[in-house]
Subunit: 261 residues, 6 copies
Amino acid sequence: MRILLINPNTSADMTARMVATARPVLAPDVELVALTAAQGLPYIASRAEAVVAGALTLEMIAAHQEGMDAVVIAAFGDPGLIAARELFDLPVVAMAEAAMLTACMLGPRFSIVTFSPALTPWYEDAVALTGMGARCASIRVPDVGFSSVSDVQHEMEAELVEMTRRAVDEDRADVVILAGAPLTGLAQRVADRVPVPLVDPLSAAVGQAQLLARLKPRPASAGRFARPGPKPATGLSPALGAWIEHLPGGARPNGAHRNGG
Amino acid sequence: MRILLINPNTSADMTARMVATARPVLAPDVELVALTAAQGLPYIASRAEAVVAGALTLEMIAAHQEGMDAVVIAAFGDPGLIAARELFDLPVVAMAEAAMLTACMLGPRFSIVTFSPALTPWYEDAVALTGMGARCASIRVPDVGFSSVSDVQHEMEAELVEMTRRAVDEDRADVVILAGAPLTGLAQRVADRVPVPLVDPLSAAVGQAQLLARLKPRPASAGRFARPGPKPATGLSPALGAWIEHLPGGARPNGAHRNGG
Amino acid sequence: MRILLINPNTSADMTARMVATARPVLAPDVELVALTAAQGLPYIASRAEAVVAGALTLEMIAAHQEGMDAVVIAAFGDPGLIAARELFDLPVVAMAEAAMLTACMLGPRFSIVTFSPALTPWYEDAVALTGMGARCASIRVPDVGFSSVSDVQHEMEAELVEMTRRAVDEDRADVVILAGAPLTGLAQRVADRVPVPLVDPLSAAVGQAQLLARLKPRPASAGRFARPGPKPATGLSPALGAWIEHLPGGARPNGAHRNGG
Amino acid sequence: MRILLINPNTSADMTARMVATARPVLAPDVELVALTAAQGLPYIASRAEAVVAGALTLEMIAAHQEGMDAVVIAAFGDPGLIAARELFDLPVVAMAEAAMLTACMLGPRFSIVTFSPALTPWYEDAVALTGMGARCASIRVPDVGFSSVSDVQHEMEAELVEMTRRAVDEDRADVVILAGAPLTGLAQRVADRVPVPLVDPLSAAVGQAQLLARLKPRPASAGRFARPGPKPATGLSPALGAWIEHLPGGARPNGAHRNGG
Amino acid sequence: MRILLINPNTSADMTARMVATARPVLAPDVELVALTAAQGLPYIASRAEAVVAGALTLEMIAAHQEGMDAVVIAAFGDPGLIAARELFDLPVVAMAEAAMLTACMLGPRFSIVTFSPALTPWYEDAVALTGMGARCASIRVPDVGFSSVSDVQHEMEAELVEMTRRAVDEDRADVVILAGAPLTGLAQRVADRVPVPLVDPLSAAVGQAQLLARLKPRPASAGRFARPGPKPATGLSPALGAWIEHLPGGARPNGAHRNGG
Amino acid sequence: MRILLINPNTSADMTARMVATARPVLAPDVELVALTAAQGLPYIASRAEAVVAGALTLEMIAAHQEGMDAVVIAAFGDPGLIAARELFDLPVVAMAEAAMLTACMLGPRFSIVTFSPALTPWYEDAVALTGMGARCASIRVPDVGFSSVSDVQHEMEAELVEMTRRAVDEDRADVVILAGAPLTGLAQRVADRVPVPLVDPLSAAVGQAQLLARLKPRPASAGRFARPGPKPATGLSPALGAWIEHLPGGARPNGAHRNGG
């Protein structure tokens, strides 16, 4: 089984950390293929930036889906997730949604703890998209700034643990999601210091992608995720344009098919 | 007062019809400046296409906001609306939201009637974004197809009137929105044939943009629509890249300012 | 275009302030006609008082609607709004609803800041009526009392600005409504001292009334706002009684008609 | 124990029927005192009419509360209910709310069946006011008209039973409320012909009023139902004006007191 | 009229206190028959324990329903309530639901004040079950522990009154429920020390049971509370097993009948 | 990794079918251990029966948790799920919840299709428990009965496929859950005959259990799933009684620990 991990940020070191964190949750028969965005922003932190990243994510999936069994969009906030599910035939999973769905099995209410107040509106949107607002106890962000996004999980480790404890004590969270790609791997390191289960979004996403790949769901040919009909496109990347126009060169994932065909 | 109307589709004839429809709702002191997208799709009809259009909308506003008092995003579904409000300093209005807010003053529940079933998921998202799901009686779409998007409002006129009547009788709508840029102007033509008020989304949006421009709200320097800090960007359009990086060349609207400065 | 402004309180000085505040948001072709209640209470501040004021509002509209293009009910809390829309043929707008709808275009969540804790339950009802509870971040009221309702906006100016700031910082409001007829005009004066857009409800209401008057929606002859059939009435004011009984003397607004007739 | 039943309609025969229907649900130690409105409308059927009736209801309670242990507002739609609870010191119950609360103990979801489509918007408001929209399976109204409101429960008996059955079969109601004062007493007569429990709103209201009178709750001196402070009033009925102004002549119920005094 | 009170805890002294507290709310013609569980836990305080208690409650009702007019499940949290309504033919009332429904007539929002933080999740479930989450201002629990569950209402009296006051001041409750069987009777004792009405859940439940017994609703033969068809059961108590299998020995309440038969 | 599958029904053939269906979704390193209930009912189909089954499920987990990495409660409706998570230290998954969470990654709205109308209320409760009511398009049940629960998936295959299609066409489902343990395995067989992805709840539950076992979340020592303190119990099964009393003989899962100890 092959899982395609798309990092829609331009930071290759973040991609490397994700691959390392995913390893313990991969079953023996799974291969992870990771990609870093070539254009865009070093780290998406607003809804405006997420619109730009969403379009890039679609281009990256269009270009690399062939031979894959599932896709992971590796940014918490899930840029392009709904569009990707609508457009492509293989299962697509993303970090925020996967973390929340997984958290729902570990506690009645989850909190999201992250490292920058700028992220709150985007994460609120991700919660709303799942329809799980009633299960979200809080989104907790620090008051203080940080110096390096690639090292923020070490730099703010004490604050993040403290915020997690306050999410439990003050917001009544039963499980906590440590959110944002830069915090990947932190959950394992600090699990013993908090009194409730922690969810690492990347691990959850890679786990859910494996599950979907094993279930082999058929692509929708009806409903809200049915692939749109062919349409002429101007000025898009070649792979995405071809896929939108239903041209023969549009790459297909490994064995996926719609309409039973 | 100058209002910038952005058509994120590539169809110039649709832009022309919008300008004509807007005329009766412009106060004597208002000028409307209309733009058509140079790349993208002739008519956006899915959420994947809306992701692409959202990025284009941001580029168009970045390039043309200077000297404007408000912006209208002229596609029902409101591509890029939240991102634009976050990013830019002048008021931004869009067709679906403006139509729904206006409808709320004309009846307790509104229905949305449109010309293609492909549009439903995208319009559902627009309803959810306003937080007004409880006031939406239904989204009605036809079973039959159409031959030309630019002429669909004449081609399907009888079906659209009939769907509007059924929205009232069967879904208990008290006001009906005739949705989708291609239906611009239809409401005025058929108002006498339905027993409840109709809302033309373009007229509502142009009206709301005037209202905001008269109120002259200050741009947010705090909260969810505070402008993101400067960030390096790779591969974006020059105007959008400059605005995201806070470069001096990033165009400013007419007199808008944040932080009192 | 003629807009009828109804002040359902008996305070004529408040009416005068409203007229002054409305001036900058009137388009060049609009005339505002203002009325003050002859009986009732000097200032409505509870739901019991609003029931009394609602009945008075209906009487005032019945007596003065002729020749008007839209009505503004000029009390935040909107006494009689739904009843008036059901009963009369011309567009009716009210301060709380208009302020909230306008605020929705300026930020994802609004707070309402006002000058007396007694107003909270009534304003909560106004929020519930719009179906926008999920977009209301808070209703903020002061702990301290005030000496004069007609001067409260100057007397409490510092507290009101501070409450607005706390609505942003603590309740995470993105836009703030300065609510209650006695605060009319305050928003313009203090806009520079708060980091988010402010909404003046009277300005918003007068703006929305103009918009509806330009759209010229037809009166509903079906749905929840269809005019009730004629009914004998005992002990009501002459104009309201005549209108409820559908008597010929029941005044009609300027050109409004139902059922195409 | 004395219960005051207020009929805010001007129909004395309806009052008589209510008194007869209430008899079997009165405990041996309870006396029911019934009043009919002297002005207003013969039968309230719209939200505009309910605003007028709400003001009359307050006047009637103000004039007759002395010596009473609880009040029943005997119109389904509950005109003036919230205002009355805010204003007065003794428990106040009304037909729609009491019927819904009682229905909640008899089935997960209730339907409301009534005799005229004109009543739907008003009854929808009553459902919303309880916050129990999620438990309301439907409001069912007939297509056909009726000739006499005082005889409608006999005239439409077959249709009402059929609508009740369809509420169960098609809307999945588990309990049905036969709503509107003119249907008082019907539930007992047709109970054997429908497969779920029926609720007679007048019986439920009289039962709930007895329960509250036995519990002897203290009047609120804080919160949303704390009595408003004294205020000058112009043009109201003597008893209501005196009560609003906190004048000594304002009648007090039997032993009720606020603030422990 | 005979009301069966089921205490699903094994504490006989709690049963005795409940009987004493119920006395003032019993009408002259009502007899209360009280039972204490013979197995299970001395005091249910978690959802796991409530699952165990729910099964015991069904066994107790099955064994003792004959000749009864209504049942009260006398534990706040309402173990087995929905199952009992589905299974049996006579009205079943329980403390949490009855307290909340009663509270809804005394104030727009209620708080629940109790004596142990362990109870919160179970009480949250009870609130959710009624569908009244929007009317619940808070569930307040103390920080400190208690020494004896049977004396906790005296031991913590001061803290409980203080928590009630804070529910009003900080959570904006308009009415407060003093929850948990061990607090039965406390409301009467402390009513003068808090500024809003208090609800004693046992009194409310016994009152609602009388109301339902007077209304004599027919048992459902359709809908969600229709009795399940006969089924073979292994290892259940004799009375419950017989009732589930529809065996002739399955006891029937006084005169209850389904399907008109 | 060892997964404990608990069938709370007494039907051993159903357990065998579940084991067979789970095989293709087990990773190479996973062992599944399956148990059938020794007492209770052959097939749970009501909420009363689910209360009984919930207590049995707790007894079975208490007796067999030792050496296990996760538990699957193998009945759609999830008897005892919340209680088990509260009580035990290892991850617990159940069919309805796992199916719904999985469905959320395959489509915006899911329908539940099952074989008996009696199951609807119980499944509605399962939907409500997840807080995902807004994502549930419908629960579809047949009008006709069936002859054998163990063969119902073959007997009703055509009807079930037709109901699935109608869920897509009429209820606008984007993904369909074929619900109820007796339908286990059907999804794979009929996937080609419906135009949207299908979810087999047993496969989803076994997949989610593997995911949780790989994530190795720590048991909660705070929040709603913290294990209740020790308590004396009367008349429970030995293993459950010992676990509730925190006795040394209470079995522990493989390496699970709370409080870091």
